[in-house]
Amino acid sequence: MQTQTDLENKVKAIFKKVLDIQESEIVPGAKLDESLGIDSTEMVEIAVVIKKELGVTLKDNELKKTHSFNEIIDILKTKG
């Protein structure tokens, strides 16, 4: 079974790859648009990679740039 840390590490790696940032730049509790300057197309790209790598489909209202990294993890957890 996947632990929370496993999931967080996988999603962090996806963020790192898509946004070309350092892992240390991710502030878990901060809004993504404010902390990482994420725009809507980058959010879609993240959703595409999450689906490809984790097999989880996120709906538009589940992956907002105003969400924090922690909120994304919480949503992913509810989807198993």
Partner: protein
């Protein structure tokens, strides 16, 4: 029209990035048209092009942004930065709501679009990058420049085939004349060295098939010419009104003083045989500049290098200039690095401005065999020293677009 000053130059070209390198190579007439090796072009009838090299060395664009933009936007961003630096303009001191961006482009960002279209057909709808939405279209570079600098003024992207950027520069000058902007970044960018873009250019029938001799392939006005060689690149100028130039004591390379445009209304690819509409555009531009034909010291030609393109351009110059036509040097320096399509006008303006600054007419290269139907002084193969006070630039596009701009040395 009231004269508008050119105060900064940014150039990204196969002949070099930055104006010094560019001028040194253009003056020397060194061809940089090469075999296309970026992809397998072996089945295309035209396989030569001018390629931009070492763009990364001049770029401060982040790798995160590079993922989201096409090469044509990248080149436009680097050229804009160079233009602003050259003009010594500090944007933090400007009212960004009064700054404009006028760009010309013919094809859009196909390097990006083709990859994504391939993914769409291979992997389905979900295989396409969401960045595609904002990467491919002709106005994407304008958007990226505005976002990068926070520029919020009256701006436009002009799509008019090979006349796109000359038209963009002319409309930028007219927009400043109307008092709508304090200054404008004007120019164009094109990245046509991609499989689909090349195919479109090939099927339009205007490209050279002289693949065995890339350096000699593009031969405007030569009797054995067989079309143009495409090239990638970008050129961006800063344009300012006289009042502003005087206030900030800016260096002025030259002024834009006249513009004329007409359409042939005859054929979707080829220019009109009689060339009357191009001649009329030349006359309109001369009237706009309040100059007589004998006042023009140099003509930077469209030089499409097609049989009909060069004959009709010659015919139009003779019709508009009459007896003085044969006394004016007419050259196509784009024969050196290739034809940048929607960006070629920006490069022609930059080349002409540098020609004025160095008092030297840049050559038409690969000119070996005179064509009796092209009988002007094309400044063959070697630059000629000459003081240039007034110069004319001619650009034409498919669909019968004729565009003429006149510059005057400050």
């Amino acid at each position: 029209m009231e004269k508008i000053a050119i105060t900064g130059l940014g150039v990204i070209s196969p002949s070099g990035i930055d104006k010094r390198q560019f001028w040194a190579n253009v003056k020397a007439g060194r061809s940089v048209v090469e075999k296309i090796e970026r992809f397998d072009a072996s089945l295309y009838s035209s396989r030569v092009a001018g390629h931009v090299k070492e763009l990364e060395a001049y770029s401060s664009v982040s790798s995160r942004l590079l993922k989201k933009i096409d090469l044509f936007s990248h080149m436009a961003l680097v050229a804009s930065e160079m233009g602003l630096q050259d003009a010594n303009i500090n944007l933090s001191e400007e009212d960004l709501k009064r700054v404009g961006i006028f760009m010309g482009n013919a094809l859009g960002g196909w390097l990006y679009a083709e990859t994504e279209l391939r993914d769409m057909y291979m992997e389905g709808r979900e295989g396409v990058s969401p960045f595609m939405a904002s990467a491919w279209f002709p106005a994407a570079p304008q958007g990226q420049i505005s976002i990068h600098y926070g520029i919020k003024g009256y701006s436009k992207t002009i799509v008019a085939d090979r006349a796109s950027s000359l038209m963009a520069i002319a409309y930028a000058a007219k927009t400043i004349n109307r008092g709508k902007c304090d200054f404008i970044l004007a120019g164009g960018m094109e990245a046509p060295v991609t499989p689909y873009a090349l195919l479109c250019c090939v099927t339009s029938g205007v490209l050279t098939k002289n693949n065995d001799n890339p350096h000699n392939a593009y031969r405007p006005f030569d009797k054995n010419r067989d079309g143009l060689a495409i090239a990638e690149g970008a050129g961006v100028l800063t344009l300012e009104p006289q009042s502003r130039v005087a206030k900030r004591k800016a260096h002025v390379y030259a002024n834009i003083i006249g513009y004329g445009t007409t359409t042939d209304a005859t054929n979707r690819i080829e220019p009109a045989q009689d060339a009357h509409q191009l001649a009329r555009a030349i006359k309109i531009a001369l009237d706009d500049a309040k100059l007589a034909p004998s006042d023009i010291d140099y003509i930077c030609a469209d030089g499409a290098g097609t049989v009909i393109g060069d004959i009709t351009e010659t015919k139009a110059i003779k019709e508009a200039f009459g007896a003085v036509a044969k006394k004016i040097p007419v050259s196509a320096p784009k024969s050196i690095f290739g034809n940048m399509l929607g960006a070629c006008g920006a490069l022609d303006v930059i080349t002409t401005v540098l020609a004025m600054e160095h008092s030297m007419v840049p050559p038409t290269i690969n000119y070996q065999t005179p064509d009796p139907e092209c009988d002007l002084d094309y400044c063959p193969n070697k630059a000629q020293e000459k003081n240039i006070k007034n110069a004319m630039i001619i650009n034409r596009g498919r669909g019968g677009i004729n565009c003429v701009l006149i510059l005057q040395k400050n």
